[in-house]
């Protein structure tokens, strides 16, 4: 295993973590990038540690910062918006294909990074798999049932109720919708539910493997089957897997929850994307 710095077109800088496995070029290349202002290292160095684990499983990994973010210089050619992000990720895949011969990719993202990964997959046939951590989600009637049950339990406990009211007031005053801003404060825009459903359907038809991972710290996701309830995907789908780590927070700050996350991603990728 070794890491080397790559400087790509469009001022993009990243690190290729090479597994040293000769057959790794036949496997898809795993790619991560910054989530908003949080650079390519990831929260609590999550993406560096996950790269090492993926290398041990024989996958090469490229982690990078979009231009102007983290350790990549500003681009002068593209504007900072969703289309720019999609174009840049595709440029990265183009260059890695040319230079190293990778022709299939697994995109992984957390929070707004997951949103970007999903959007890229819709427009690029080279995407073979997606691992989306706390990506797009939609509230269902069962979600509201869980939420109000929690509120009821809070009413029964004055201390919890006081905390709840305090948080609500702070949220209202700061106009801060907890899941619609990413970990670095960027506002996330979710597609309409119908569009999301048809997009998932398109990806399945194209043979893309999808792993939706939700954490207990993601306030818009309340129960393990919520994905199936809003997406219309059948639980028996062979291409879609869903995990709900209700012990974890949104950033996987507790090491034990990161261990569970990593092991689940490695198992999935070995099973679905080798």
């Amino acid at each position: 295993m070794s890491e080397k710095i790559l400087k790509l077109k469009n001022n993009i800088a990243g690190i290729l973590a090479d597994s040293g496995n000769e057959s790794s070029k036949e496997k898809p290349l795993v790619i991560f990038w910054n989530a908003g202002l949080l650079h390519k290292v990831g929260p609590f160095r999550m993406f560096v540690d996950l790269s090492a684990k993926l290398n041990q499983s024989g996958f090469d990994v490229f982690r990078f910062d979009l231009s102007g973010m983290g350790d990549s210089r500003s681009s002068t050619t593209l504007d900072l918006d969703r289309d720019r992000i999609i174009s840049e990720i595709q440029l990265v895949m183009d260059e890695l294909s040319e230079r190293f011969g990778f022709d299939r990719f697994i995109l992984m993202g957390l929070c707004s990074g997951a949103d970007n990964a999903f959007d890229v997959a819709l427009t690029d046939d080279r995407v073979h798999g997606l691992v989306l951590m706390d990506g797009y989600t939609y509230k269902t009637s069962m979600y509201y049932a869980y939420k109000y049950m929690k509120l009821f339990l809070n009413v029964m406990n004055p201390k919890k109720m006081l905390n709840y009211i305090k948080k609500r007031i702070i949220n209202i005053l700061s106009s801060d919708n907890e899941d619609m801003t990413d970990i670095a404060g960027y506002v996330r825009e979710f597609p309409e539910l119908e569009r999301f459903q048809s997009s998932v359907h398109d990806l399945i038809s194209r043979g893309v493997n999808l792993y939706f991972i939700y954490s207990g710290g993601y306030a818009s996701y309340a129960y393990s089957n919520q994905f199936y309830d809003f997406s219309g995907v059948e639980k028996e789908s062979k291409q879609v897997d869903v995990a709900y780590f209700d012990q974890a927070d949104h950033m996987y700050i507790i090491i034990e929850s990161r261990v569970v996350l990593f092991s689940s991603i490695i198992d999935w990728i070995n099973k679905k994307c080798s």
Partner: protein, 259 residues
């Protein structure tokens, strides 16, 4: 902005060189000593922008990640504070060689400020800027542990509250500290009189100089205390993962270099 590795082949250190631009030639490069753990994540964006500002005013700047942190090699579990101090010294040599400058100054943040102070005996910098320096390793770790305990009680973060720390395992705010690292940080103290630099500037928020001003060490004659009037809230749970940014603090630090 030019990312590269330095150090030995099996322990490479990741650095980013911001080349000097602008009209003025300066025979002085600036080495950035970042904080560690969650504070590294919070300040990465701000320090990058500060590097860009200073490099546009003629200073070669180098940011880097200590061994076992950021994009450098190694695991945090293998990290060692004395090795981090050696990394500071190596980074100082590196920026001198890259820039051709004969003089180096350092900007250290939190634990990075302590590391830059401890490395100054070897580096012998022109100036040292210490932003909210960690003065006592034991106090620093206790504060982080208290923040960790507060964090794991936060019901808006966790659906199910995690267990408290096992005393044998130093899991603090997303990182596991090995015994050696934990104990060696705990044993480190910041000695004002040991800082070797022609100028020492201590920049803290909201007039928070008390700890250093009351330090039993003799106050060096070349020290200045600057109140940035910016509260960094290092120990405020709600800000723990928020990116730090302050134009005001950036101006205060740039002004120290642009006279």
């Amino acid at each position: 902005m030019f990312p590269f590795y330095f150090g030995s082949a099996n322990k490479h250190i990741y650095g980013v060189h911001h080349e000097a631009s602008g009209d003025e030639y300066r025979d002085e490069a600036i080495l950035f000593c970042c904080p560690v753990s969650h504070e590294y994540m919070r300040t990465h964006w701000f320090l990058k922008l500060l590097c860009e500002k200073l490099s546009s005013r003629g200073y070669h700047c180098l940011r880097f990640d200590y061994y076992g942190t950021g994009d450098s090699s190694g695991s945090f579990l293998d990290a060692d504070i004395d090795e981090w101090i050696q990394n500071v010294v190596a980074a100082s040599d590196e920026i001198k060689e890259l820039s051709g400058c004969t003089r180096v100054s350092m900007i250290g943040v939190r634990l990075g400020a302590m590391l830059s102070a401890l490395a100054s005996e070897v580096v012998k910098p022109e100036r040292v800027v210490l932003w909210d320096p960690v003065v006592d390793g034991q106090v620093y770790l206790s504060e982080l542990e208290m923040l960790h305990e507060e964090m794991i009680q936060d019901r808006s973060r966790f659906k199910h509250l995690p267990a408290s720390n096992d005393e044998e395992i130093h899991q603090i705010l997303g990182y596991q500290y090995n015994d050696n690292l934990f104990n060696s940080i705990a044993n480190k103290k910041f000695g004002l009189s040991k800082i070797r630099a022609n100028q020492i500037s201590v920049v803290t928020g909201k007039n928070n100089h008390t700890v250093l001003k009351n330090n039993k060490d003799k106050q060096p004659v070349n020290i200045s205390y600057i109140d940035s009037n910016v509260e960094s809230d290092w120990l405020y749970l709600d800000n723990m993962e928020k990116m730090f940014f302050s134009d005001r603090l950036s101006d205060v630090i740039v002004d120290l270099f642009i006279e």
